[in-house]
C-alpha cells in the first residue's frame, strides 16, 4: 500500500511536471517567435554568402 502511494505520487508528479514544463516551453517558443520573427533578409544574406 505504501509502495502504491509512492507510485501514484511519482505518476502524478512526473506526468504533471513534464506536462506543465512542456506547456511552459510552448509559451516561451511562441514568445520568442513573436519577439524575433523570421525576416526574409536572413535568407538573402545566407544566399549572398
Amino acid at each position: 500500500m505504501k509502495d502504491l502511494g509512492f507510485g501514484l505520487t511519482m505518476t502524478v508528479m512526473g506526468m504533471g511536471i513534464t506536462f506543465l514544463t512542456l506547456c511552459l516551453l510552448i509559451l516561451i517558443i511562441r514568445l520568442l517567435s513573436k519577439l524575433f520573427p523570421y525576416k526574409k533578409e536572413e535568407e538573402t544574406s545566407k544566399e549572398s554568402k
Partner: protein, 378 residues
C-alpha cells in the same frame, strides 16, 4: 614430461573454467553480432555489445566490466559508473537534433509529455508485482525509449539491472517500427489516420534557434535540477550547432565523440552481461515490462492525438501522438509511413519530427522528476 603436462594444464584452464552460463552468453553475443553484421540491425551498438559479451564471459581473461583493473573495467568505472558516457552521448545528440520543426509548430511539444505515460504506468505495475522501488523506477524508465536516459537513471539506483535495462532500452528503440504500427492502427480509424496537415516548412529566425537551447536549458534545469547533466549536455550540443560559429566542435560532437562513446558504452554494457547475473527470471520481467512501457507510451500518445484532433476540429493527425516518444527519429518515420499508408497525399514527417524532439525533452524531464523524488526518499 612434468613441465609439458603442467603447461598443457595451464593452457587448458580457460576450457576447464568455462561454465554453461558463460558459454550461453557467448552464444548470445554471437547472435547479436550476426544480427548486426548480416541483418544490419543497429550495427553501431550491437557489434560492440555482442563482442563485449564474448570478451566479458571468457573465463580468466579479466575482460568483464567487473574485473578490477582490467581495461573494460576501467572504462566501465570511468564512463558508466560516473555517468559520463550517457551525458556525452546527449551532447552528440544535441548537436545532431534540429529543433526547427518543433519551433515551427510548438503545440506538438505536448505529445512529448504523453509519450512518457508508459513509464509511470509500468512503474505502478512493477510496484504491484512487488519489485523494490529503485528497481521499479529503473525498469520503468525503459519507457523513455532513450538508451542514455535509461542508463543514467539505472546507474544511480539499480546498477545490478544495468545490463538488462540498457539492452532492453536499445533493443526496443530499434524495434519501434515493429511495436508502434499495430497499436496505431488499432487505436485509430482510417479517416483519422488520413487527416492532412499543412506541409510547408515554417521558417524560424536564427535568433530563436540560438535562444531556444539557452532558455530551455535554464528553465528546465531550474524546474528539475536532477536532470541537469542530461538536459545541459543536450542543449549545449544544440547551441553549438545553432550558433554557427563552432563548426569544428559540432563536427566532433556529432561524429567522433558520439561514435567513440557509443563504442565504449556498447563494449562496457556487453562486458557487464555475465551469465550468472544476466540469465535470471528478472531479466525476462525487465524485457516484458519494457515492451509494455513503450506500447503504453504509444497508446497514451495516440489517445492525446485523438483528443487534440477533436479540440482543433480535425486539424491534427492523431498519429503524431506516437512520435511523442524519445526514439529519435524512428518514431517520426513510423508516423510518416503510417500516415502515407492511410492517405498517399499525407506528409506528416515535419510535424512528427517536432513531436519526436519534444519527446526527447519530455523523457529527460520525466527522468529528472523521478530522480528528484527518489533522491528525497533515499
Amino acid at each position: 614430461m612434468d613441465v609439458f603436462i603442467s603447461a598443457l594444464e595451464s593452457l587448458g584452464q580457460g576450457f576447464t573454467n568455462l561454465s554453461w552460463q558463460a558459454a550461453l552468453m557467448m552464444l548470445i553475443g554471437c547472435v547479436l553480432l550476426y544480427l548486426a553484421i548480416a541483418k544490419k540491425i543497429e550495427p553501431l551498438l550491437l557489434v560492440p555489445i555482442g563482442f563485449g559479451i564474448i570478451l566479458g564471459n571468457l573465463p580468466l581473461a579479466g575482460l568483464s566490466a567487473h574485473d578490477e583493473g582490467g581495461i573494460i573495467n576501467l572504462l566501465y568505472q570511468g564512463g558508466i559508473l560516473t555517468e559520463i558516457f550517457p551525458c556525452l552521448l546527449f551532447l552528440g545528440l544535441g548537436a545532431m537534433i534540429d529543433f526547427g520543426p518543433m519551433l515551427g509548430n510548438p503545440v506538438v511539444l505536448i505529445f512529448g509529455a504523453a509519450g512518457q505515460f508508459g513509464i509511470f504506468l509500468v512503474l505502478l505495475l512493477a510496484l504491484a508485482f512487488g519489485l523494490p522501488r529503485n528497481e521499479a523506477v529503473s525498469i520503468a524508465v525503459i519507457g523513455a525509449c532513450d538508451g542514455p536516459t535509461a542508463i543514467y537513471v539505472t546507474t544511480k539506483f539499480a546498477r545490478d539491472l544495468l545490463p538488462a535495462v540498457s539492452i532492453a532500452a536499445y533493443s526496443y528503440m530499434s524495434l519501434v517500427p515493429i511495436i508502434q504500427p499495430p497499436i496505431m492502427r488499432v487505436m485509430t480509424t482510417k479517416k483519422e489516420r488520413a487527416t492532412l496537415m499543412p506541409t510547408g516548412e515554417k521558417k524560424i529566425s536564427k535568433t530563436v534557434k540560438i535562444l531556444f537551447p539557452i532558455v530551455t536549458g535554464i528553465v528546465t534545469i531550474l524546474i528539475a535540477p536532477m536532470g541537469a547533466p542530461l538536459m545541459g549536455m543536450l542543449m549545449l550540443g544544440n547551441l553549438l550547432k545553432e550558433s554557427g560559429v563552432v563548426s569544428r566542435l559540432v563536427d566532433v560532437s556529432q561524429n567522433t565523440l558520439a561514435n567513440l562513446v557509443t563504442l565504449f558504452l556498447g563494449l562496457c554494457i556487453g562486458a557487464s552481461m555475465l551469465g550468472g547475473d544476466f540469465l535470471q527470471v528478472k531479466t525476462i520481467i525487465i524485457f516484458v515490462l519494457g515492451a509494455l512501457a513503450i506500447s503504453l507510451d504509444t497508446v497514451a500518445g495516440v489517445l492525446l492525438g485523438k483528443l487534440m484532433r477533436v479540440i482543433t476540429h480535425g486539424k491534427i493527425n492523431p498519429l503524431l501522438g506516437a512520435a511523442g516518444t524519445s526514439a529519435f527519429p524512428m518514431s517520426a518515420r513510423v508516423v510518416q509511413k503510417e500516415g502515407q499508408r492511410a492517405n498517399p497525399r499525407s506528409f506528416l514527417l515535419y510535424h512528427a519530427i517536432g513531436a519526436n524532439t519534444g519527446g526527447q525533452i519530455g523523457s529527460v524531464m520525466a527522468a529528472a522528476v523521478m530522480l528528484a523524488i527518489m533522491s528525497n526518499i533515499a
